[in-house]
Amino acid sequence: MDVNIRSIDDITVVAIEGALDAATAPIAQQQLLPLATAGCRILLDLTGVPYMSSAGLRMLLSTYRQLSGKDGRIVLVGVAEEIQDTMSVTGFINFFTLRATPEEGIAALKG
């Protein structure tokens, strides 16, 4: 699992490559959380993530909690259908903005 971080204008793009399980999600979380600052705009690109367990949900939850009340925003793109299923049965999906592609995600963050 790799985490690649870059900036596009004022948006921080975090692209994860590889499975997010209990071994890898805490590592991704360590890189993601410091970016969740006041007023931040984060595009979380999960195009390269074929699998995510509840450890990945915990990573999303921690990020969400850190952002709330800070006027920070996060948009998820490229979320595999099966991962959307997991987010759906756990009621996570209603609390996140999902877009199909990075381009659409950037548009959503700029809007």
Partner: protein, 145 residues
């Protein structure tokens, strides 16, 4: 498929996942059923490490095995950690699953996903070992392998 023995540690989850996906392919499961089975096995294997081997300070293996008959694929996880029956684990109810994320406890979510992802689940304690068994129905049209 031949059983797989891996050390009871988190980095082994990836190899367990590969084994489950290979067994699911052999049983003719579709993409979604295969994924859900992988998720179920991964969540319980995670618990074996995190609630079993790690807190007790013991080291041991996880043995993954599979059997396929005309109707079902069964995956079994065996470990020598302390007795732990996932069915006794508290699970989130409907209220918890619709609650705002700010107020979530997050306890039992993995076990919930595990039970949700398979058609049947068994647990037994035999000869000092935990056996977690996951059962998934095969598509009726799947040819016997």
């Amino acid at each position: 498929m031949e059983p797989l023995t891996v050390p009871g540690m988190l980095p082994a989850l990836e190899e367990i996942g590969r084994y489950v996906m290979a067994a699911a392919a052999e049983a003719g499961l579709d993409k979604r059923a295969s994924y859900r089975l992988r998720l179920a096995v991964d969540e319980i294997a995670t618990n074996i490490v995190v609630y079993g081997y790690q807190p007790s300070g013991t080291e041991g293996d996880i043995i993954v095995s599979s059997t396929i008959d005309d109707h079902v694929l069964k995956i079994a996880l065996e470990d020598t950690g302390p007795e732990f029956d996932p069915r006794q684990h508290a699970m989130p109810d409907e209220d918890e699953l619709t609650r705002p994320l700010e107020d979530r406890q997050m306890g039992g979510l993995g076990v919930y996903l595990a039970f949700e992802g398979v058609d049947d689940f068994h647990y037994e304690r035999v000869d000092g070992r935990n056996r977690n068994i996951f059962v998934v129905n095969r598509p009726s049209a799947a040819p016997a392998t």
